[in-house]
Amino acid sequence: MNFVLDTNAVSDLVAEHPVATALLAAVAATDTVLLSVVTRGDLLFGLERLPAGRRTDNLRIKLAGILGALAFAPVTPAVAEQYALTKAACERAGGRVNDNNLWIAATVLTLNGTLVTRDKDFGLVAGLTIEDWTV
């Protein structure tokens, strides 16, 4: 089984959220925890926007360790095709989902995985399996 972490799910693990950490510990050893390259970009962008200082340095170190432990899901031609289908379906349904989130949703759907997020916007994407690791 593939678990794909959204930006906020990584944030929760960086902050060592007790529920998120406990649920991660309960994931089967043969399962894989991945990150979309889009999420990686978002996280590194957020890091770049933080003012320089000790707490940013600590976050950089922590995030580097976490990113190094995650498998990465690239944007493949199959993900691009799924992105087109997902975006068109959202448009027809009148839902508005952030474009980066559409790429993440398309990645999860292509992998037949589970998205770990607390972002309610993903509920607008049909067929997406979602878990919130903070409750």
Binding site: T7, S11, V33, L43, G46, N58, G68, A71, R96, N98
Partner: protein, 92 residues
């Protein structure tokens, strides 16, 4: 990707729990890693990284999330060549 556990007997890899749906008579790529080292993408590798210092405050993480969210724009479902209401009038 399928993860398999195996033991090397000096000549061949012996699968400890062979899956029934593993394709036969085709070449498979095998990435060998000792189970003493957690594989990248395993929950154990991630958990080790989460528990490793330095510890980061919730406030710092929330600030980073806020900075990311500020830059995100919702998807626009208007076509590139669709006319914007009042645009023609403004140009005319």
């Amino acid at each position: 990707m399928t993860t398999l556990r195996a033991r090397f007997d000096g000549k061949a890899l012996i699968l400890l729990d062979p899956p029934p749906d593993l394709p036969r008579d085709v070449e498979l790529e095998v990435d060998v890693r000792s189970t003493s080292e957690p594989r990248v993408g395993s929950p154990r590798a991630l958990l080790d990284a989460v528990r490793r210092p330095p510890h980061v405050s919730r406030e710092t993480v929330d600030e980073m999330e806020k900075l990311i969210a500020e830059s995100m724009r919702p998807a626009e479902f208007r076509g590139a060549f669709d006319d914007v209401a009042g645009d023609t009038e403004a140009r005319g």
